[in-house]
Point group: none
Chain length 319, copies 2
Amino acid sequence: MDEIQRAPTSEELKNFEFIQVLNEDPRTKTANILGKLKFSSSEVSQDAILLLEKLHFGSQELPILSKERILQWIATDKNDIYHWYNGLLTKNEKWPDFKVTLIWPATEAHIRKYSSQPRYLIRETPHIYETIVKPYIESIPPSRIQWVYNILAKESEAERILLEVEEESTGFILLPDMKWDTVTLESLYLVAIVHRKDVRCIRDLNDTHLPLLKNLRRQILQFVPQKYPGVRSDELRLFVHYLPSYYHFHVHVTHLRNDTIAGGIAIAKAYLLDDIIENLERFTKDYYKRATLTYVLGENDPLFSQMNDIGARVTPDIL
Amino acid sequence: MDEIQRAPTSEELKNFEFIQVLNEDPRTKTANILGKLKFSSSEVSQDAILLLEKLHFGSQELPILSKERILQWIATDKNDIYHWYNGLLTKNEKWPDFKVTLIWPATEAHIRKYSSQPRYLIRETPHIYETIVKPYIESIPPSRIQWVYNILAKESEAERILLEVEEESTGFILLPDMKWDTVTLESLYLVAIVHRKDVRCIRDLNDTHLPLLKNLRRQILQFVPQKYPGVRSDELRLFVHYLPSYYHFHVHVTHLRNDTIAGGIAIAKAYLLDDIIENLERFTKDYYKRATLTYVLGENDPLFSQMNDIGARVTPDIL
């Protein structure tokens, strides 16, 4: 049998000669390593790459994890109801397999906080927007976004403002997002809030807003590299969310290396500012009025019940 | 000492009574579980939450991983230069600790691909596509995607095929992606590879491909919930990459809860199949010929040098 066809055995892999780590990601527990490998019967070693990934807990493993799987818990720290441990599957204490936070006793609030809610992919047609979502947006009390108006009026967070363009139709305020520690450049996260109050979300955009959108783009891409030397304009993602977390138009600005906001830059949530400008300018002036938009809705979301009833959840047939 | 102050011991934690999984994230290998816990000396059990996280590979662990740490490699599949294994740290084969992809022999191109590198946001106008990217695609030797043709001809991975639609213009093969362990439903990752060879990427799509795109959508959304009870059609993301990792049209199918592919479902990389259908059907039959597409390019990418020279990197001015 042609040697290169069969999979190297466990024994042969033990002789993998490590050269270097090519890349790794502590968030996903992955590592890519380069080395040399040869079949036992061969003289010739060749470059080999191992793409390693810790496996997630198995669904059948979790119920018996504590009782049967974990050999030993090593307590590392505690604070009030929080107790931290490393969990060992083998007797080798040098490299624990899990880390664990024990919250005990846990209250209902804790349980809610650490629970997921079912989520559903939704297709919002223009009709569904007009009949359900738009009335919902219009019913939100202005007090819900008072904090936005406070920022625009410089009554709060004024010292955090990085840039202000004081123009009614194309102006905005740029400041760090509260998710950012304002120190770690790789996780840079800013938000640009527009001054005008008549654009609540992407659905309100048409070609008359192109000056606003282009102004946001140009000014942000010029300003941020000046303010943060080491950050280039081609390292910045400018995007908008739909559904947004608040209904006053704003643009997110994140560093390309920022992976901490995985869901926030995902399709069915985020829309590149460049794509929005492109769609309105090159294709149709009312693109976002006519488009069906797909997004994820949680069961606990106020809109879910109506969306469910009207049949907005994704099905095999395109309606 | 007040009992609630000391950390429960390893023995006491063995008696943790599992109730349910509150939340989990296969991307970060975390899970939150709810249960009951009591001190040995006590009658009273109280709610306890365990926040679990697999630990990342240690920097000192990686160089000796293969030689000393892994007890056994279990081969799971192979295709050409790709070999997949599970790695065991304990003798318990039921729950492997790592999954591994071995690429061997690895070329310089592979090494570059799997190494970390500086990345840049690029705007690919139709002109840039025609003058740089399309010639590049046409210059790729067919042998680079021999492994795709092997799958379509059922010469490899045939036993992994979930669904085949044997029709030249609208047909495809659906199988698990090599990234998926085929066990953890929350990280479900399938790929649908079309039979026809004349669609290399999203740029080749126009309204004549709507039957293909709609067929993919309908069949996948019908089939997957039948094959994997517990997975609904409104929990599946169907999307395409640009730039794709290989230039033969294929659709990614992932579970909504699968965050393991953070970059893979990000804007400036992923395009929802529904949006593609929408753009070609509702807006312009040659949308993807006329659109400027934004994506991330690594410095080591073969295209980078030409993209850099032609001024494709994002700047404050829209060209």
